[in-house]
């Protein structure tokens, strides 16, 4: 009996461990990341000024946005995604021919050790308040000739005014997009291009009037330029 009882306790303890680890990770993320990153969607209810004051991109819908594998590796080895930071107007200085990015004002991202990166990625992937937006998405990844895709991204839709589709090619106020396909879920890419305001009412990206199949072609272009070569 005694034996059985202690076995039962041991089993309960063992079963409890993953739950406890998860609770700890939530606390760690809150503590180590929540100082800069939003982990709830409360910002959507505030005035527009909150966008100017953001220290980091919101993570409250991380599970609807990111590729888990990318999260794990980026958290250990973070590199810059937004050439002009999270709020570009705060990182601008005068240059000889107009405004330039004040790179010295951009901080390095804190790195986390492998085991913690894994646990944090697991936790972040549970943050999925926008499953409905993902479910409503009809995008089926396909392919497009690179030259056609580039014309679309540049000349026809003007995305290249704010986004780079290759290192050092394209505007700098938005996140680089030649890495979008490895960072982001395909359905997120498509849904965000179609209506960035549904994700963030204070987004700095304009909501254009692009039809669904044109959006899908743009997403296909990001696939073509961003897919890891086999």
């Amino acid at each position: 009996m005694k034996h059985l009882f202690s076995l039962g306790v041991a089993a309960m303890l063992a079963a409890g461990v993953p739950g406890a680890a998860k609770a700890d990770t939530a606390g760690d993320v809150q503590q180590q990341c929540g100082t800069c990153h939003a982990l709830t969607h409360d910002y959507a209810t505030l005035g527009i000024q909150e966008r100017a004051e953001r220290k980091a991109p919101p993570l409250d819908f991380a599970g609807n946005k990111f590729q888990r594998a990318w999260l794990v590796s980026w958290l250990q080895n973070p590199t810059r995604i937004r050439p002009a930071g999270v709020f570009p107007p705060a990182h601008v200085k005068d240059g000889p021919n107009g405004d330039v990015v004040d790179a010295a004002s951009l901080a390095e991202h804190p790195a986390v050790p492998a085991a913690q990166a894994d646990a944090m990625a697991d936790y972040l992937m549970t943050l999925k308040p926008f499953d409905d937006l993902i479910k409503a998405e009809t995008y089926q990844p396909g392919t497009i000739a690179k030259s056609m895709g580039k014309m679309n991204f540049g000349k026809f839709k003007g995305c290249d005014a704010c986004h780079q589709d290759a290192p050092n090619s394209g505007g700098v106020s938005g996140p680089e997009l030649y890495t979008a396909w490895i960072r982001l879920q395909p359905a997120f890419i498509s849904a965000y291009i179609a209506n960035p305001l549904a994700w963030d009412p204070h987004t700095l990206m304009p909501k254009g009037d692009i039809k669904a199949d044109a959006v899908h072609k743009l997403a296909d272009y990001l696939k073509v330029i961003g897919e890891k070569q086999p």
């Binding site: 527009i48 107007p89 601008v92 107009g98 005014a161 106020s173």
Partner: protein, 115 residues
């Protein structure tokens, strides 16, 4: 508790009043300077990467040649709606009519202050 709430709401009202005062300038900094420049001279951080240059909003001659309605339309419906470049985005989804009126007011300050 009631007192605290009252104090908080007075503060909030103050902040809103302040923001309303330079709403046009605030929105211009957030949405427009990336292309049109921190000084409104058309030389934002994206300009060097663009095939059509953003309008210099401090150019008195060009800007005086536009009516308020024309400025409103290009901001709300984008460059394409007035046969200009698609690189001037459509902002009508992100901004309310009031926001756009505030921006037109700010554009008038940028270009024609010197008069």
């Amino acid at each position: 508790m009631k007192k605290l709430l009252l104090a908080a709401s007075v503060l909030a009202v103050g902040a809103v009043a302040h923001a309303e005062g330079d709403r046009g300038a605030q929105l211009y900094t957030m949405y427009c300077t990336q292309c049109h420049g921190a000084h409104g001279n058309g030389k934002g951080i994206n300009a060097a990467h663009m095939s059509v240059q953003p309008r210099d909003h401090s150019d008195i001659k060009e800007m005086s040649a536009r009516t308020d309605d024309e400025l409103f339309k290009v901001i709300q419906q984008g460059g394409k709606s007035v046969n200009k470049s698609v690189l001037m985005p459509i902002w009508g989804g992100n901004l309310t009519d009031d926001d756009i009126h505030a921006l037109v007011g700010h554009l008038r300050e940028l270009c024609c202050q010197k008069d």
